[in-house]
């Protein structure tokens, strides 16, 4: 995998992986690198924790893209014309915007925006983030203001939701049976008697028992008011789905050399292949590489024993060195198992463990050298 080529040729890079592997940092480092290559790039995170702002050394990020000043770093750029933007998804605002776009008229729009269930569901609840992220990515893609979009996704389990979000949405809104099923509830608001006489009475009765009649009322009110939007949603979901499969899109799997994390990455890899999505490769972060320690250790131990240090200091030195060796061995064993399963070694990029924490632009540029 050649990341320079990906940055050069792709329009959308999606960084996926388990939590804690450095996805956000990698996404941000790729963005800085792309910027240094002269690209106009925007990096977007859908993670509700404020990671991206954090790794860009900023306090806050907003729902609209904001330009990041590379300052000193741009001096080292191959092409100083690059620009870097970042944004963090605000689920509720994105949702409201979609409603505004697809609602047939002002009245319908307000009916939805003022619906109690909608207000609660659209903001805080997990799950709608994935839908909205796809929407935002698509919106940015459509605007065509950027050479490259880089997307940072939430941890694996939710990243799967993210992959499946367009299909799920499509299924829910296209099934004509679903519309049939929802139709009787049209009467809920008006006369509940009529509704009870409908053929779907049994189903709704069960739903009522399970969820509560009031809930059902609110839900159907929300669904009725969103019904007019269905066609728009459906169309959009299809477009988003197509964007994910576009040859100008590429999925990168970010991982680190730990057994559990690697097995999750492989699971996700499988999902990407099953969904026929364009896969770029694995980026393995924070690898403790063997820089000669294993080979030199016997000699080093001998040398230390000759030094003018207390026994406890010598013991401590050996403890530290053994720990360092263990770190290297732990990572090597994990990488071996990953390589065996991936088969194609070109799909792996290793990023060494860095002595310093990456949490500002300088750190990101430094990290970018390994990508």
């Amino acid at each position: 995998m050649n990341l320079d080529a990906l940055i050069q040729n792709q329009k959308l890079i999606i960084c996926c992986g388990s939590g804690g592997v450095g996805k956000t940092t990698t996404a941000a480092a790729l963005a800085v690198k792309a910027c240094q290559m002269g690209k106009k790039v925007v990096v977007l995170t859908i993670d509700p924790a404020k990671r991206l702002a954090n790794s860009l050394g900023l306090k806050n990020l907003e729902n609209e893209e904001k330009e990041i000043d590379l300052g000193e770093i741009s001096k080292g750029s191959a092409n100083p014309s690059g620009k870097l933007f970042a944004l963090m998804l605000d689920t509720k605002r994105t949702f409201d915007k979609i409603i505004g776009r697809y609602a047939p008229d002002e009245e319908a729009k307000n009916a939805i925006l003022n619906n109690k269930l909608y207000q609660h569901l659209s903001s805080m609840i997990a799950g709608s983030q994935e839908y909205m992220a796809m929407e935002k990515v698509y919106e940015l893609y459509q605007k065509d203001r950027y050479d490259l979009l880089i997307l940072d996704t939430p941890p694996t389990q939710h990243a799967l939701d993210f992959l499946e979000a367009p299909q799920k949405m499509m299924q829910a809104v296209t099934d004509s049976m679903l519309k049939w099923f929802l139709k009787p509830s049209l009467f809920v608001g008006r006369t509940s008697l009529k509704f009870l006489e409908r053929g779907t009475r049994g189903i709704l009765k069960v739903f009522d028992r399970v969820t509560g009649f009031e809930f059902l009322q609110d839900l159907s009110a929300m669904l009725i008011s969103t019904a007019g939007l269905l066609e728009g949603f459906k169309e959009r979901a299809e477009e988003v789905s197509a964007l994910l499969k576009n040859p100008k899109t590429v999925f990168l799997l970010i991982t680190s050399p730990q057994a559990l994390v690697i097995s999750e990455a492989l699971y996700f890899h499988q999902k990407i292949l099953e969904n026929k999505l364009p896969f770029g490769g694995f980026i393995v972060n924070r690898v403790h590489t063997d820089r000669g320690l294993t080979k030199d250790l016997p000699q080093i131990k001998k040398n230390i024993s000759k030094l003018d240090l207390s026994d406890s200091q010598k013991k401590s030195l050996l403890q530290v060195l053994n720990s360092c060796e263990t770190l290297v061995q732990q990572d090597e064993a994990q990488l071996e198992s990953l390589k065996r399963k991936v088969k194609n070694p070109h799909q792996l990029i290793l990023v060494p463990y860095l002595d310093t924490d990456v949490h500002d632009l300088g750190g990101l540029a430094e990290l970018g050298r390994y990508l």
Binding site: A49, R51, L117, L121, T211, L307
Partner: protein
């Protein structure tokens, strides 16, 4: 807070950024509690199950499985939780399959945001609420929830509140209110944060604890700083040792020696910096360190080692 006080709760929610070792800490706590004679259940909510892997057994899924004496685990999936919930209301598997396994209803349910989270946390609530043992369903002294990574973990805990506010009456409302009561009762529930001594995990942990306290109003327990490298040398000692090592400068192996020691010491310095930052941010809240385990593989022995470390702290 003493260890006993913590373990006297009904529900411990273990939460933190991804990759900080939540599952390991949850499992270690499980071993500690069960070792003290408490019947304990670890609840995992994960598509890629971890807990069975740690204990070296085959996948457990939606089934309360015994891991050790007094220690059980289950991996929740929303679909099974939904089936169970509906069956409790309508008592008929036939009707359930007819209606809810229907492709159209299924896709509708899949697309309803928040439903899965409510079902999962509802299941946890119903487990902690059990009055007595029944076949395959124990009455537990303690339930330990291995929560999803922070951002989503908090959204997850927020679902009952949102549902309780959004719905006026009905079984769903009643249930959401009951769940909320459990989460917000500090005598029954505590949130345990897990973090690494690194920039982003520390920031996120502090942010999470703030939201948990202010917006979800859950009681806060201790915070664990996980995978801490032992500070082998003090700053002074390190200088002394470095001076002495210079005598080996001409040796061929000097480069790798210096590189390894230097990177270890740098890691420790950085770690201490973030531990301090964490301590400052936590104020009165207790902070506990768990060591990084320099072992070839992370398995049940490692979990037992962590459990022992937790046991060493009588007062947390």
């Amino acid at each position: 807070m003493t260890l006993n006080e913590i373990l006297s709760r009904k529900l411990l929610i273990v939460s933190g950024k991804g990759g900080v070792g939540k599952t390991s800490v949850a499992a270690a706590f499980g071993l500690v509690a069960s070792g003290l004679g408490k019947k304990t259940l670890i609840v995992e909510i994960n598509a890629a199950e971890r807990i069975s892997n740690l204990f070296g057994i085959s996948e457990i899924g939606y089934c309360e499985t015994e891991l050790a004496k007094n220690l059980f685990a289950i991996n929740l999936d929303p679909r099974s939780a939904f089936e169970e919930y509906v069956l409790e209301q309508i008592y008929s598997k036939k009707i359930y399959h007819l209606i809810f396994e229907n492709k159209f209803v299924r896709s509708f349910l899949d697309a309803t945001p928040g439903l899965n989270e409510l079902l999962e946390i509802g299941k946890i609530w119903s487990i902690t609420d059990r009055e007595k043992d029944s076949p395959g369903k124990q009455k537990y002294d303690l339930v330990i929830m291995d929560a999803p990574a922070t951002g989503h973990g908090l959204a997850f805990l927020n679902v009952p509140k949102v549902v309780a506010q959004a719905i006026r009456v009905g079984p769903l409302k009643t249930k959401a209110v009951e769940i909320l009561k459990l989460i917000q009762d500090p005598v029954k529930t505590l949130l345990i944060g897990v973090t690494l001594a690194e920039e982003m995990p520390v920031n996120e942990t502090l942010e999470m604890l703030h939201t948990a306290k202010e917006s979800i109003q859950v009681g806060l327990g201790p915070v664990f700083a996980n995978a801490i490298f032992p500070s082998v040398f003090s700053e002074e000692e390190w200088k002394e040792v470095q001076g002495s090592l210079e005598k080996l400068e001409k040796e061929e192996s000097y480069v790798s020696l210096k590189q390894a020691l230097g990177s270890y010491q740098k890691k420790v310095q950085l770690q201490n910096f973030y531990l301090n930052k964490l301590k400052l941010g936590l104020g009165d809240q207790a902070l506990l360190e768990l060591p990084y385990l320099f072992q070839p593989s992370f398995d049940r022995n490692a979990i037992e080692e962590l459990a022992e470390k937790i046991m060493e702290n009588e007062s947390i």
